[in-house]
Amino acid sequence: MKATMVIARRELRSYFNSPLAYVFIASLLLITAIFFYFLGGFYAMNRASMRSYFALFPAVLAVLVPALTMRLWAEERRQGSYELLITLPFTEAELAIGKHLAAWAVIATALAATLPVPLMVGALGRLDWGVVAAEYLGALLLGSAYAAVGQYLSSLTRNQMSAFMAGAAALLALGLVYQLAAWLDLPPWLAGIVNWLSLGYRFISFSRGVIDSRDLAYFALVSAAALYLTAKRLYFSAWS
């Protein structure tokens, strides 16, 4: 645990020492605000709800989170610091979890920075704060799952750009595949499978204010599985 925090702190410092964390936070605020106010028809809706705001998150985070995670391993490998890091007395799990916590903390900071949005909406009309809390919880969990998948893809390459593109593609697919079910009018059994797999679909139920333990478990499982694969990847690269 202590070792994990050593990694997390170093990684976090490196996020905030570079423009990356700030660019990430600013981009998330800007993109979601633009879509929410101008394109999403917030004022036309004439109702105090954050639902259309949070509905943007599966897509927006799918593009932004890989920008955050692409460097986690690709950069270490490219500049060679990977070798020094691996020969320090950390277990593979400590490395993967430490880096995950750092990326997740940046995402959480960015989410915290969006708080003025619901506060403003709340000032304009009656907002159900319980639902808002559930939506934030959902966004945090979605962020964790995305970050873990992004980190795994970063561990597969020494090229940040390919880590980013693979990450964005994978997360857009994972996040938005449930919309395919609606568009293509898939048979119910297939739609069920697709929805079950889609992180975005799970996220929707949070924005209804429903916290389902199965959804919690699913996000936790995806995060854990991706981190496990990352740790395995680190382990096996010693044997290659």
Partner: protein
């Protein structure tokens, strides 16, 4: 401290190290010498727990690298080739990260970092970003992080590459001061470095050990032992059959394969390869001959075969086979 037996390591289909065995005693400084691609770095990567062996065993401080890499990583301080550090940290930040990573207690971190910085001549560089450091200073930071937790084993991959002559001397004297207390393995392709630092040399070629021993043992083992060179002055006055120069000396002493070369003005040069262990005796005979024949020795010197020569011979012979 370090035992390697039958170690092989292949990447994909390429066998970088083939059945290498050697041991390094406590407090010894051993040099890995070899052309690029000979397997030096691979051996080091196995000993640091970065790579697992494909076959054979590597044991560091009684711990099998393949079985408990984490324990080995604790015992070893490692300076990888090229010194890959985090450029976005200052020297102090970086070393305190290393101190934390090495599990030093909060109270011990700052003193350990300060001590390592002092030993590596990094005074005053604490607040500087690593990416702004010159190559020499980066190398020192790399060394400082390797010795920070006072490890019993130091593994240094080309510790002086890219440094200027003054820096090289400083780093060498630092490494020398660490030996005795620590077991050090260093790789290099600079011969003087090995002669200056290492109690033992391992010459590698194409993944195998081509020779091992102390620099002296190697040169004695490599046939020829010593080269005796003399410049002889014999002006004018020889008895019948010419001057008592180099040629006459060779004949008189029975040095059949000696080379004699006139240098003009009555001087001539003689060079003779004495068999190992007979250098003293042959040189004495030459002196006595000169005294007896009235020739004058302007110069008499003896050369051990340099490590460089051994290296070239070992590593190029293999290629032509």
């Amino acid at each position: 401290m370090i035992e390697v037996s039958g170690l092989s390591k292949s990447y994909g289909g390429f066998e970088a190290v083939k059945e290498v065995s050697f041991t390094v005693g406590d407090g010894r400084v051993i040099g890995l010498l070899g052309p690029n691609g000979a397997g030096k770095t691979t051996i080091m990567k196995v000993l640091t727990g970065y790579h697992r062996p494909s076959a054979g065993r590597a044991v560091v401080g009684g711990v099998d690298v393949a079985k408990d890499p984490l324990a080995v990583k604790r015992l070893v301080g490692y300076l990888p080739e090229g010194v890959p550090l985090y450029g976005d940290m200052t020297v102090t930040e970086y070393l305190s990260f290393i101190a934390e990573a090495r599990g030093l207690t909060p109270g011990a971190r700052a003193p350990a970092a300060a001590k390592a910085m002092e030993a590596c001549g990094l005074g005053g560089m604490g607040p500087v970003l690593i990416e702004h450091l010159s190559k020499g200073y980066r190398q020192r930071v790399g060394l400082a992080q390797a010795i920070l937790h006072d490890p019993p084993v130091l593994i240094l991959d080309e510790p002086t590459t890219g440094l200027d002559p003054n820096q090289i001397l400083e780093i060498r004297s630092l490494i020398r001061s660490l030996g005795g207390d620590k077991t050090v393995i260093l790789s290099t392709h600079i011969m003087q470095e090995v002669e200056a630092l290492c109690s033992e040399v391992l010459i590698l070629n194409e993944g195998r050990i081509a020779a091992q021993g102390s620099a002296r043992e190697l040169s004695e083992a490599m046939q020829g032992g010593e080269l005796i060179k003399a410049v002889i002055l014999a002006r004018g006055g020889g008895a019948a059959g010419g001057e008592p120069g180099a040629g006459a000396a060779a004949t008189a002493l029975g040095w059949a394969d000696a080379e004699a070369r006139p240098l003009g003005d009555g001087r001539s040069e003689l060079s003779y390869r004495a068999t190992a262990g007979r250098g003293d005796e042959e040189a004495e005979r030459l002196f006595d001959w000169a005294a007896g024949s009235g020739a004058k020795l302007l110069e008499l010197r003896r050369e051990r075969i340099s490590l460089e020569e051994i290296f070239v011979r070992l590593t190029s012979e293999e290629h032509t086979k």
